[in-house]
């Protein structure tokens, strides 16, 4: 390994990643089993519920498996999103939790960028892979329970259906698109068609919003070493409450003005919404990039002991230190 080169090195990134994975293997295994347990419990509960519903409402047995997958999809992506947020909040928590651990980590001969990328890969890509592996295992274990339910239609994997469902959500959004609302001959405003463009804007906005929310957790994870997830949630609640309060206070003045502006610019509300979303997408993506950049700046300035003036949220000092 070339340790003289101070530029980004994939060989060193690999070595850092290997150290991270081996040294924190027990935390990763624990995370895997938590995901597995959650998926298995949800699937078993789902099977039980489907059989009950099927008996009451005569759902055909050939619909059991699609129903199981369809019910499980929101749970799976919900749990995965939550796990991604929690892992993002643990960017500095795992390697810098204690002074001893932090010392070893900070002294590791790799660039700050290599360490940051390694942490980010573990907390995103590895976690997603782990979630799918946990789902596969949960599927296999679930099938051991199928004889208890005496419904052979439950033999099968939900994983392909979940992937298909995920793909279908995106492809249908782009293919058939979003609903287009417009005035009809009778004068009412209704759905008058579907636009792939509208669908694409909707989906892209959702993805951008998710990436932005995730990046907030990355940023929080780089600010706080301990109980970061709780601190991030509290901060989000406080900020959201403040924004809502400001909005409520300003609403009598701003909304009529905004309504006038939008009415003068756009023919329909939907057009206005689409335009706002088109503006929101690059703004959210830019803010996401900014959060990652700020997170990296904070990560690369971490010290083995955080001096008091770096605690309590006074982190601007770390981001923009004086150049005396």
């Amino acid at each position: 390994m070339n340790t003289i080169n101070n530029k980004f090195s994939f060989a060193r990134l690999g070595a850092v990643l290997k150290c991270d994975l081996v040294e924190h293997r027990w935390s990763n295994i624990a995370a895997f089993f938590i995901l597995f347990a959650a998926f298995l419990a949800s699937q078993l509960a789902n099977m039980n519920s489907i059989i009950g519903t099927g008996l009451r409402h005569s759902i055909q047995p050939d619909q059991y498996m699609p129903s199981l997958a369809a019910n499980f999809v929101p749970f799976f992506y919900g749990v995965l999103s939550l796990a991604l947020m929690c892992a993002a909040a643990d960017m500095c928590g795992v390697p810098l939790k204690t002074k001893g651990r932090g010392l070893n980590y900070l002294m590791m001969p790799a660039t700050n960028m290599e360490k940051f990328v390694a942490r980010a890969l573990v907390n995103t890509i590895l976690l997603i892979v782990m979630a799918f592996a946990a789902l596969l295992l949960a599927d296999l274990v679930r099938m051991l329970f199928v004889p208890l339910f005496e419904v052979k239609e439950f033999y099968g994997f939900t994983l392909p259906r979940i992937l298909a469902e995920f793909g279908e959500t995106f492809s249908s959004a782009y293919r058939t698109g979003g609903e287009v609302w417009g005035p009809t001959v009778d004068g009412t405003v209704r759905v008058i068609g579907f636009s792939a463009y509208y669908g694409a804007v909707n989906v892209t906005t959702m993805v951008a919003a998710f990436l932005f929310a995730h990046s907030l957790f990355i940023l929080g994870g780089c600010i706080w070493r301990k109980a970061a997830i709780i601190k991030i949630w509290i901060t989000q609640i406080v900020v959201t409450s403040a924004v809502v309060w400001i909005f409520v206070k300003l609403e009598p003045y701003v909304l009529p003005w905004l309504g006038d502006v939008l009415t003068s610019l756009f023919e329909t509300e939907q057009q206005a919404g689409m335009t706002l979303m088109n503006i929101a997408i690059p703004v959210l993506l830019a803010l996401t990039a900014l959060n990652w950049w700020l997170g990296y700046r904070l990560f690369s300035r971490k010290q083995v002991v955080a001096p008091q003036h770096h605690r309590g949220g006074k982190h601007l000092h770390q981001l923009f230190p004086s150049r005396k």
Partner: protein, 278 residues
Amino acid sequence: MLKISDLAFSYSNDDCKVFNDFSLSIEKGAVYGLLGLNGTGKSTLLYLLTGLLRPQQGSVLYKGEDVKLRLPSTLSDMFIVPEEFELPKMSIKKYASLHSGFYPNFSYEQLTQNLAMFGLDDSVVFNSLSMGQQKKAFMCYALATNTSLLVMDEPTNGLDIPSKSEFRRLIASNMTEEKTIIISTHQVRDIDSLLDHIVIIDGSQVLLNASSDEICRRLLFAEQPISEPTDGALFVQPSMSGNSVILPNAYDEESRLNLELLFNGVLAERERFTELLK
């Protein structure tokens, strides 16, 4: 090799700075002893010179590179053994296989030799060892990395009596002209024979920065019966046999450096010693 210039650092917002306008140079090929009272910032200084803390002012340059940047070229050439550390739950062999790649001069043969000196082997798992044993194993690994700079904070704390002499032997056998070892300790008697250079600090001041040879050339350390006069002594400290004294070495006499006496003397008579060893 290591140049600390106008360093300022504090842990809190108030004006109570651990270091203020602190400067020091460390040269290669010597074992430095870093001494100071509790709370004078010895461990903080070690963290600052390895880039684990960032100074609020001033700089720490290692071979011309700013250590706060934590560049791989710098980090792969220095190693720190802190007073308290936390090692992963794995064997020394596994740890070495994971981490040794980061250190271009790492020698596995040296590691096994060092471990053998303490009666350890590379198959033992860190966490199965006592704290003292872990420290020995970690020091063996640290020396096997063959970095140009090795920093040790209270290395003899937690070591049993035979291990302290083994530690001295270990340092002596691993020392080369290309290496610099900085040892911060309160247990001066454990390491006084090892030190080539003594640095005594007190907050922002370097009270003493001189080689052991230079100190012994300028000062004479002696034990005197209580009846013998102590006129002309730079510092006198009562001892079991009478008085331990530090005298100016006017006649180029040879004496063994008494680090404890020197430390107490420097703290009590700062100006006199500073002037004499300038």
